[in-house]
């Protein structure tokens, strides 16, 4: 969460601003790849035989998956399809609340 002085006040267990910044950066990368995958998917819906788009889609899907795996291992689940030993779904702030999960980089 960002406080009034725009300092990153972590609500996760990392207790360090640096780690929190990492989390924001990683999430921003995930959003970028998710955007590319989604936009290519819409394009492929109407251009299903475009090999270049298909190739990019495949590449970005893999990168997105790798980033999401990396994120979820450290910061908890992005979807409820991620198995946890304890229920970490409640720990991170919700996207509409702004703050750490939404740091604009």
């Amino acid at each position: 969460m960002l406080n009034e002085n725009m300092e990153c006040k972590c609500t996760c267990e990392c207790n360090s601003n640096n780690d929190c910044e990492m989390q924001g950066k990683l999430l921003q990368q995930i959003r970028c790849y998710a955007f590319a995958v989604n936009d290519l998917a819409l394009y492929l819906d109407t251009h299903p035989t475009d090999q270049k788009a298909l190739c990019l889609h495949r590449k970005y899907c893999q990168e997105l998956k790798d980033l999401e795996d990396k994120y979820q291992k450290v910061y908890g689940p992005l979807t409820i399809n991620y198995p946890c030993n304890k229920w970490r779904w409640l720990e991170e702030p919700w996207p509409w609340e702004g703050g750490v999960s939404n740091v604009d980089l």
Partner: protein, 208 residues
Amino acid sequence: MWTYKKTLQYPVNIKCTNPKLAKVIISQYGGPDGELAASLRYLSQRFGMPDQKSKAILNDIGTEELAHLEMVGSIVHQLTKNASIEEIEKAGLGPYYTDHGVDVYPQSAAGVPFTAAYLACKGDIIANLQEDLAAEQKARATYEKLIDLCRDEPDVVDPLRYLREREIVHFQRFGEALRSVQDKLAEKKFYMDCDITPKSDCDCKDKD
């Protein structure tokens, strides 16, 4: 079937409360050309589409509109969550506050509650896709008006610009889907993969 992903499609981080802006931006949540209407319009129309391309594009754009609904809701929430009663009154949100507090309620900027009358499902492929093209242009125009009204708040303008750009991409994709459907209809012989008449081997007809 949908899966929720715990992130916004594009970040919304608004530092200053401004219920005046929330009052107009809420139109893109539950107004006539808002994201809720767009999403439900496409997700309802997809059932009647004749080919794979138009089914897919309505399904996938309808899904993206749900992500946009969440973004607009987040903007309205962040603009109002810490507003004082004085700020709410000054913004002309007294009547809204009376019925909804600072919850995010789907209504137009003029206070008209969301209605399914905003959806157009005409039972006609061409009419539906033309409606969708117009819907994207109307949403783009609405975002441009909102960007004018929010010009002094970069935190608010930034996600609005993103949403405006998506309307243009969606318009493009709907145009391609329409052309594909029209090409198909223009073929001398064409076979639509939707069921217009009940199948003869269906054992549920004429039970009486």
